[in-house]
């Protein structure tokens, strides 16, 4: 609560891993009491995984925020230093994005033709597309975006 530190997000990532593991153990022991087949998720597993997913997202964006915005803000303008490596990384990611998008369309066409829906692969490819987009935005902000930290009076005229 004091500053934008990486400690809590890191701790959240560890806790998220613990919750996913607890969901796995729940499936092995507690959920089995209810007669759940291993491939079905029990309510307990869903709850643990939902909190695990939130903490995973929170931990990741917390570390990204620490990387991109720092621990403390200082008023002023900060200009990025141009360099070749981020451009190369961006080009590679765009190529990867194009390849994944093509593969995703091919996967949908395959499902439509055969009626076979490999959901894990569809989720993996679509999710990967989105993660590549997130990485591109991150690279843009870190290496190409002009940063500015401002101060503002407490009393504003917006929205009223």
């Amino acid at each position: 609560m004091y500053r934008n530190d990486p400690i809590l997000p890191t701790f959240a990532l560890i806790l998220a891993a613990g919750l996913f593991y607890a969901a796995y153990l729940d499936g092995l022991h507690i959920a089995r009491l209810l007669g759940h087949a291993p491939e079905d998720l029990s309510v307990g597993q869903i709850g643990l995984m939902a909190f695990g997913a939130v903490l995973l997202l929170y931990g990741l964006i917390g570390l990204v925020s620490y990387w991109l915005e720092g621990v403390e803000l200082r008023p002023g303008r900060h200009f990025p230093t141009p360099s070749t490596a981020p451009v190369a990384a961006g080009v590679i990611l765009v190529l990867l994005l194009t390849a994944l998008s093509g593969f995703f369309v091919r996967l949908l066409a395959y499902s439509a033709q055969t009626g076979h829906n490999p959901t894990w692969l569809q989720g993996l490819v679509f999710g990967s597309i989105s993660l590549v987009v997130a990485a591109l935005f991150g690279i843009y902000k870190k290496f190409f975006g002009r940063d500015e930290v401002i101060t503002e009076e407490e009393k504003g005229e917006f929205p009223w």
């Binding site: 307990g44 709850g47 949908l108 499902s111 993996l124």
Partner: protein, 420 residues
């Protein structure tokens, strides 16, 4: 083009007034954004689902010859579409994530004291949003109309119906008649789930954000040192917007992978409703209420002004009601005279921090009590009602005292040294 639009719409004025708002930076603010993005994904995936879903229990024939309710059949159809099962699973997971994120967001508000003056009203709006999110998720639970969902929803119907004086009317409004059985139930739950409750949620989310913009965020404590009395942050556009886009892309990426790998509610495995009731539990966010219902003896029943006050009402409505009243009164009990500008550190408020941790342990222990019958069947000690009562009441008290003592030992010494 920009000049043409600017001359007519004063876009520069909009940029200066709205898009250059200072947005304080702290990772804990992202919990609210995760809740918002889960809601956006719910709306987007929900649009696809409504285009293919049939809210009816009339009998239809599947291509394999089975006769099933139309609602159940239409969900099987959605699952058979390319990427359809992943979209439905993403919708299901996003509902769980929205509630979990809203709950953690509320914990952050409680731990940092952000409900104090001048943010009492927005805290109440937030509490309302959490409650409404749970109700909205509940109304969607029965829609696939499979054996599991119908049985689980029946528990909620029983609780609504058990509320004295108004229970019958409330159950009628929510379920359109007896559930399961009434033909109006699914159309009623459908209209509540896809129209009225989301509209109410959108309105409350808008109000929550507008009040937040007016009152500003509680800032991280260091901001007091850098820019005292002012709001220190990054402009809403483009910087904060880029961070939001990164989080949204991360959300969609991670949740799509989870949704694809773990189909949350495989209705083909559960089958359409049958007279045989499967062993079910309500969703995890109702499990603590279900646990209390398991502990309250059936003899706790009496008559009051012509109505029956039964164990279902006491466990399902009175206990959550007491917690809700405490939550509603909190900002008017734990107050401060001056305007709150910066987040309070949990270490400086041992009583409040200990109470929040005790509340968490209470929820966990009450949820554990939801497995009472299963533990009994296996002959575990946890199947004993007295043991569970001890855990539900004793563990939170122990947590409170232990946390308080530890915080006094570690942070009390620190404070003493700082004063010296």
């Amino acid at each position: 083009m920009y000049k043409w639009l600017d001359e007519r719409l004063d876009l520069t004025g909009l940029y200066q007034k709205v898009l250059r708002k200072a947005f304080p930076v702290h990772h804990s603010f992202f919990l609210g954004e995760i809740t918002l993005f889960a809601f956006i994904v719910l709306v987007l995936t929900g649009i696809f689902l409504t285009l293919n879903y049939e809210p009816s229990i009339r009998e239809v024939k599947l291509p394999d010859g089975r006769a099933v309710p139309a609602a159940y059949g239409s969900v099987l159809y959605i699952d058979s579409l390319p990427f359809g099962a992943v979209i439905r699973s993403l919708h299901h997971w996003s509902a769980h994530v929205m509630i979990a994120a809203a709950f953690l967001h509320m914990l952050r508000i409680l731990l940092s004291g952000a409900y104090k003056k001048p943010r009492e009203l927005n805290y109440l709006v937030g509490l309302g949003l959490l409650g409404l999110a749970v109700v909205t998720a509940f109304t969607g639970y029965a829609l696939p109309y499979d054996n599991y969902a119908v049985t689980a929803t029946r528990i909620g119907y029983g609780i609504a119906n058990s509320i004295p004086w108004i229970g019958g009317a409330l159950a009628q409004v929510m379920f359109g008649g007896e559930f399961p059985g009434s033909e109006k139930s699914i159309p009623r739950l459908f209209s509540l789930h896809v129209l009225w409750l989301p509209l109410l949620l959108m309105g409350l989310i808008g109000l929550h954000l507008v009040i937040m913009i007016k009152q500003k965020h509680t800032q991280p404590r260091y901001a007091e040192r850098i820019a005292p009395g002012k709001i220190l942050g990054v402009p809403m556009y483009p910087q904060q917007m880029v961070m939001m886009l990164i989080l949204f892309a991360l959300y969609v990426g991670i949740m799509a992978m989870i949704a694809g790998a773990f189909l949350a509610h495989p209705i083909e495995a559960f089958g359409p409703p049958t007279p045989n009731t499967p062993a079910v539990k309500p969703d995890w966010y109702f499990l603590w209420i279900y646990g209390i219902l398991q502990l309250i003896p059936s003899s706790w029943e009496f008559r009051l002004f012509g109505a029956t006050i039964g164990p279902e009402f006491i466990g399902g409505a009175v206990v959550p009601g007491i917690l809700a009243v405490v939550g509603l009164l909190l900002p008017f009990v734990d107050t401060r005279k001056d305007k709150m500008r910066y987040m309070e550190l949990p270490s400086e408020h041992p009583v409040r921090t200990s109470a929040v941790l005790a509340l968490l342990v209470f929820f966990l222990m009450a949820s554990l009590a939801g497995y009472k019958i299963d533990f009994q069947q296996q002959g575990y000690l946890l199947g004993n009602t007295a043991v569970l009562w001890t855990l539900v009441l004793g563990a939170p008290l122990l947590t409170f005292f232990l946390t308080y003592v530890l915080m006094r030992i570690f942070y009390g010494e620190k404070e003493k040294k700082a004063l010296e």
